[in-house]
Subunit: 340 residues, 2 copies
């Protein structure tokens, strides 16, 4: 491996001078600089970030921890984070927790051990609290994405889950639906809880009685075992006329289940959900959705994180909470009901 000492020897200068050339610090004569540059090229020198980070006590690395790398909401978010990080000269590394608190724990350990300068986290759920406390204890700045965690104050970028749930439900009631189900993620996740709240409020506002049997709380990621959605349908005596899915992945699961039972959307069942399906929704623009600005979640979150990192030492700013609005994209997965 070529080090600054190899360069120094061959260029007839000290290692310190090489370091100065690399980092453009201090005063160097043009001649020396040129010579050092030439030798660096000849020897194919590549700086060693680890050695550098070790002495500088900072890595210029940001870490993005998402919960589902196959979900276009998160990959689009990742693109936003990538662009923002690059713009500010940070490198961005990704991790994928698969909605698992345990895998998340492993990543937190890795993040700590690799001394990332900051972290963007879409927490797996409320049980992520200890992980966040660990980050806080080690003074690693972080920004929460898409979900909050009770008991932990921090910067956070959110959608307005409650409001959006209300919009979705009212879209359905305005088409004559009264028996509206909610197939939601785990109540251990703040966004799922708020979506349930919004759903209940919207029902009340529209004089529809809340019926517990129309709510299924499962996981935002499909479980591999026999589908809970399957079983939920099995025990349903009278089906709803419409379903709100807590996210895009659940919407797909619902559609599969409906297909398997020969139930047509929207003729026999209306369906709406949170989050669009990514580029592939274009194939058949079919599902009516709340389209959150995934890219902005990543971009803004990263900017907030970098602000926080660079603020180090200056007066502590209060925590920032950014709530990004979302549009409803109306397509054709909702039928209009005539019956009262």
């Amino acid at each position: 491996m070529v080090t600054i000492y190899d360069i120094a020897a061959k260029a007839g200068v000290s290692a310190m001078t090489v370091s100065r050339v690399i980092n453009n610090t201090g005063k160097i004569s043009d001649k020396t600089r040129a010579k050092v540059r030439r030798v660096m090229d000849e020897l194919n020198y590549v700086p060693n970030h680890m050695a550098r980070s070790l002495v500088l006590q900072q890595s210029n690395v940001l870490f993005l921890l998402i919960t589902d790398i196959t979900n276009p909401f998160y990959t689009t978010l990742a693109r936003g984070a990538e662009d923002a990080a690059k713009k500010h000269g940070f490198r961005l590394l990704f991790g994928n927790s698969d909605e698992s608190v345990d895998k998340e724990k492993d990543y937190i350990d890795t993040i700590l051990a690799t001394r990332a300068d900051g972290v963007l986290v879409a927490p797996a759920g409320d049980l992520s609290l200890p992980h966040l406390e660990t980050l806080r204890k080690h003074q690693v700045p972080f920004v929460l994405l898409d979900r909050e965690v009770p008991g932990m104050d921090s910067d956070v970028v959110l959608g307005d889950s409650k409001e959006n749930a209300r919009k979705l439900v009212e879209h359905l009631t305005s088409h004559g639906h009264r028996r509206i189900a909610l197939i939601n993620g785990s109540p251990q996740i703040s966004s799922a809880r708020l979506r349930l709240e919004g759903y209940r409020e919207a029902l009340k506002l529209n004089d529809v009685l809340f019926d517990e049997k129309y709510v299924l709380e499962t996981a935002f990621e499909p479980r591999s075992d026999l589908s809970e959605i399957e079983r939920w349908f099995d025990r349903m005596d009278s089906l709803p006329t419409a379903i709100v899915a807590g996210n895009n992945v659940l919407a797909v699961e619902v559609i599969r289940t409906l297909h398997a039972r020969g139930i047509q959307v929207p003729e026999e069942m209306s369906l709406v959900c949170f989050d669009d399906l990514g580029p592939f929704s274009e194939i058949d623009p079919f599902l009516t959705v709340i389209a959150q600005q995934a890219y902005q979640f990543g971009y803004l979150g990263t900017q907030m994180l970098i602000d926080r990192i660079q603020e180090r030492g200056s007066a502590d700013q209060p925590w920032k909470k950014v709530v990004l609005p979302a549009d409803m994209i109306i397509r054709r997965s909702v039928a209009t009901l005539d019956e009262k």
Copy 2:
């Protein structure tokens, strides 16, 4: 920051003993080990991977460079790589080159500077050659994924693009199609070239004359400017009856273009493509595709890479080339033609 020296001092042992406890090396009395462990917990010690990598001259990090993080083929591949890396105790970091040779270059520099132990690359194209040569020069083991680069021998995991193109075309001819177009990625990419070859061979085998005007070579990622596909349609006097898309992203672009022109699939135009659309294809299982085993690309590639890393020093093995078979999933995007 807590270091092994802090632990050592508080536990009344030397730093070396702490190091041994952390790494489970050497012989340590149970009593000492217990005490060191206790102090580590009390002080919330987190090992510093950078310091460790610096002395060990290895990082236990693998880097996966893909060309499109929003393409489910690559995210599924990433899941496979993740699982394989984890199984062997390596950490996996991702980068996204966006099909850009320049961004790829940046990542290669980062990879070199952070001293990853090995790299999995889906190269942006033939122009990636210098990047691979850089890796080779610095003795960083790498495995190519999904695409080869002329002039560079290495381990590689591929699909059988030629054979699969043939299957796709013959599926169309067997349904009576004779005017079959190919909308393909850049000829700078090996898989695109082979797909074109397979297409031509299949036409010949079925006594269909090759017609240049039915081939469009564009990019595997949609360009932001006015769609080339748009313009290609514009200058077409007699439309084909079927289209083979070089990958899933292009298929989506084709569908959008067709929709905009009010052309129905499959009634007025049949369409098939390479690579499935990920979980979301389930919503409307519509497109007939060659479904490559994306997960296996990542899993096997990672295993090959780790083999290569661990072989260090032992006799050089010849380069391995793994070709993964793919199944055609027949859905309903192909119409049967009666006309001869």
